[in-house]
Amino acid sequence: MRQAQHYTRTAIALHWLMALLIFGAFPLGVYMHELPLSPTKLQLYSYHKWIGITILFAAATRLAWRFSHPAPAMPDMPRWQRIAAHSIHHLLYVLLFAIPISGWLMSSAKGFQTVWFGVIPLPDLLGKDKELGNLLQAVHEALNFALLLLVGAHIAGALKHHFIERDDTLRRMTFRYKGGA
């Protein structure tokens, strides 16, 4: 396949949409689960679940787009850095699916169906099972901790390229990027 010179506008839009949603859902998840039961808590849980399912659909769209629209080559860098960057990208993709799915399953196991935007019900793939629900909660938390580390490394890498190597790695993920084409 011909190597692309730059990211498509759709790929860039999906990347930043994803970033925005994750930066919304993550702190919301951390904050809401310690709250005492209140209408606000029920609302925040719903919003969190709605964002999570949106991330899942956006991730599917993004992966499909990525397969049909290859990413541009990475700038020159040591082999270990290339492997690290690729591994982080792959793992991030895995988590973009695994985290919402673990949350969805956890909700079903805890007996609270996920209804996207309060309108579109997602099927309960698991029956109500308290212990399984608690297990899935632990999985959901662990995966999110992994996400935190990976996103940290992802951002650190982007900033290193931008400010230390002074290459186009970060810039090409912006809409204004004209180089390379």
């Binding site: 209408p39 606000t40 029920l42 609302q43 719903s46 805890k110 007996g111 609270f112 169906q113 109500k128």
Partner: protein, 191 residues
Amino acid sequence: MRLKITHKLLLATMLTAGTVSAAELTQLNPAKSQITFVSKQMGVPVDGRFKKFDAKITVDPARPEAGKAQFEIDLASIDTGSDDADSEVKGKSWFNAATFPKATFVSSQVRPLGNNRYEALGKLTIKGTTRDVVAPFSIKQEAGGALFDGSFVLNRLQFKIGEGAWADTATVADEVQVKFKLFVTGASSTR
């Protein structure tokens, strides 16, 4: 004359036999009965149930119109599906189960709807508020008794179930679907 008396006796015997032979059911079998409900939280249906309830029932499944029923539901026995919510709904803004431990329903009338369906009219009392409710149900004859299966919509705010911030129906809907399956047996049957 003699004949007339015999006639009268016969008639009386038949009448008596008529009432006695009616298969009256009087015992609620709690193990085979359930009272459940579905509330809507943020548009999501959530199942719950009451684990403890009792009833005084006298009903002939062949003539349910003449039946009488009185229910007592132990509100502290609620199972909402999460521990958080269980303790919350026993509190003052919901059932205030410490002050009003029981919900009661007393039937006043049973009307046939046709096709083996009936509706029970009666007074439902929760948290010191009494309202008329109408609960449609069906009857299924089973070995040893009959299953009364029905449901009705309870408007929780009419009974002040969920006050203050919880009165917001956008979070928890006003309408709560209450479903009952009651297995009632004859007096001799073991519970």
